[in-house]
Amino acid sequence: MIIEKLDAILDLVEKPARYIGMEMHSVIKPDNEVNVRFAFAFPDTYEVGMSHLGLHILYQLINKEAGLQCERVFAPWPDMEAVMRSADIPLYTLESYRPLSEMDVVGFTLQYELSYTNILNMLELGGIPVLSADRGNHDPVVIAGGPCAFNPEPLADIIDLFVIGEGEEVTLELLRLYESIKPNFDRNAFLKQAAQIEGIYVPSFYQVRYNEDGTLAAFEPLEPGVPAKIRKRLMKDLNQSYFPDKFIVPFIDTVHDRAMVELFRGCTRGCRFCQAGMIYRPIRERSADEVVRLSETLLSTTGYEELSLTSLSTLDHSEIRPTIEALSKLNEDAKIGLSLPSLRLDSFSVEVLKEIQKVRKTGLTFAPEAGSQRMRDIINKNVDEQDLTETMRQIFELGWDKVKLYFMIGLPFETMEDVDGIAGLGDLVTYVHKRVSSVHKSKGLSVTVSASCFVPKPLTPFQWEPQDSLEQFKEKQRYLKQRITNKKIKFSYHDAETSRVEAVFARGDRRISKGLIEAWKNGARFDGWNDYFSYERWTEAFEKTGIDMDFYATRKRSYSELLPWDHIDAGVDKHFLVAENENAKSGTTTQDCRDGCIGCGVNVCWGGLC
């Protein structure tokens, strides 16, 4: 029994409570009530995975269904992995403590590309063959979904089937299908039937041919009856969609250790670099009443002292005022803290902040994304210097004194002048602070300017654009380090090497899984964590498997090139992406689609949904 073995080894690892399960609102059904066991697999630590809203939604959704049991599994930290290997403990789920190999279906969520090595590691630790082709009728079906599934190709040899889009309905359809054929389970028959479900992509049913220059020549179905294009799934009406009335409450501190209510899906702003803003269209809101009702229920069932209103740009919700007013009352009555994941640079954000942070003033993060107006027009971030100046003036007058500004470097068509604008905005903020005179103004000021390295993503207007080379990134980082001499500004930046590996996978095709497997065999895991990422390991792995990183990361694609993810239909028209790329080149902005339809194509797909 795994649980008995655990008892003997948990003293040897750091944060043992990651590996025990048993939290409030975790669900464990008696064996005789379970027909299908599904493991929700998060390829990162417990603390990261338990902060993911999608996990909580699917977990409670599946578990409220008779006959289905959803369990959880996370990537063990390397100290635990070593102990598990020496004690012969396979990777197990936190509910029934069964090895992963005893699950019927294992579903990975693909939140970021740098977690892919953890997927391989978890499969192997769980006793499941790493390659789809090596799995037989007695192995679990390995599935994957989430944002990175919109370019499934790098994992095509590893994952049996992908779920494209929102998972609430399709996961249940899939598990019920499994249940119906479980008595005489045949893998191939299951995959064939699954491929008929809208939103399901079975990569082994398609073949890819390549041109001599390495680009794709053709992408063709091998099986009769499988769709040539796979259209994403989505929930049409959020008010009718399932949202849990309870969350598992972790014992240990997690990244986002609070109740979360989703206000809406999609985003209307149309930032051209943002994959989420494209693939989650159209906008679908939950009503204010429903948000308040869910908040009250969740706080009462979880005992959480903090509530987060999550969405891509939360303050854009059309009933945000009444929602926040109603929720602030809870704040006063039950000492509940309210947090917003993102703030806009406008006076409405300041009003809201005044409402929800009456006593304690935490640091505030804003995302101008780019330093110059020219660049912000290119990326369609409709914010100007005036917005920044005004917002900063107001928050300083009210007494806030810690500000973090988030930027990207390496955006398409960027010049050194644009990069210089990042430092300029930092200086501007300190200048605004100096000029503010208010009784509440704090004497100290700390500004953090953070610059990450841009990764072009599939299904965005920048999907054809080259990523900066390592040298370009480093030159820009060096420039900013020298340029930012202001003592009140702290400059932080992300490692260019990790962004380069991320870029290879973001726009990779089927061939690069060989590099992935090679890197994993050489010890790659937790690549999203600085302590474990090794760039040399990746360059060696790609070299050995004959993969040219530049072909994927820094190459400019033509509009006519067949892209590895062209068979995935996110609802947004490719012509729209081309038009937006052209608009970027000419610095033409596009309006927020709440102000009028911009013709992205989503509205056509689902018949006037937005």
Partner: protein
């Protein structure tokens, strides 16, 4: 305002929860149970929950104490139900009582009883037994205490040990001992011990440190896993902490 002193357990795999995890567990469990907690004043109001003594990660207990402040007039007979419905089974209610405003539990606490299970390699078993039985006759037993950011310090353990007795010497069994590097089969004997040690803010001796000092005094190298279970907390003069005012 009413002050409730609660005795509870911490057992099973939940012994791996750290002290801060327990603080969160109580805050959220009591909120789930709609217990009308009182909050501290100030910028960052926190419910008034105070524990007697943090229990190390990995130790279990059948007699932990915590005090919570609740609104006057709340029917405290509901407390057991709150634990049954809003807390994990491994953190179980044992008893509680209303106390008058007093000194904090932490400042009243002086001693703890522990049951220890020490798995010693067969080869060292006899000398371990002798060392334990010989402890009262020793003039001094020292250990090096490591603390973060400070120099290692040699401390005298003898006055902090009020009792250490061998309850039972178990059968020798072959055990798989696991480390991160390997798993090896070793013949071990299980020594079951009972200890009363200093505990509290004035003077505190963790069973780990005591057993490590004994192990090193007999030249016992390597793994000798220790399982610790706390059974009682006492105040001045060995009075049960639960009863003290």
């Amino acid at each position: 305002m009413a002050l409730l002193r609660i005795e509870y357990t911490k057992t099973g795999l939940l012994r791996y929860l750290g002290h801060l995890d327990m603080v969160r567990l109580f805050e959220r469990g009591l909120r789930r149970g709609k217990v009308p907690l009182l909050f501290s004043q100030g910028f960052n109001p926190h419910p008034k929950i105070a524990f007697a003594a943090p229990l190390s990660v990995g130790y279990s207990s059948e007699a932990e104490l915590v005090e919570i402040e609740v609104e006057e007039g709340w029917d405290d007979q509901q407390l057991e139900t709150v634990f049954q419905t809003c807390f994990p089974a491994e953190v179980a209610y044992r008893r509680h009582r209303l106390v008058a405003q007093s000194k904090s539990l932490m400042s009243l606490m002086r001693l703890s009883d522990y049951q220890l299970t020490w798995s010693v390699p067969e080869a060292s078993c006899q000398s371990a037994v002798e060392a334990i039985e010989g402890l009262p006759g020793l003039v001094s037993l020292t250990a090096i205490k490591k603390s973060k950011g400070k120099k290692d310090k040699e401390i005298e353990l003898k006055p902090m040990v009020h009792q250490l007795k061998l309850l039972e010497k178990g059968q020798t069994t072959v055990r798989k001992t696991v480390t991160a590097a390997a798993a090896v089969e070793v013949a071990v004997c299980e020594l079951r011990l009972f200890a009363t040690l200093d505990a509290g803010s004035e003077s505190n001796l963790k069973p780990d440190l005591l057993m490590a000092a004994i192990a090193s005094s007999i030249g016992l190298e390597g793994e000798a896993p220790l399982r610790v279970h706390r059974t009682a907390l006492y105040g001045e003069g060995g009075k049960a902490l639960f009863e003290m005012e």
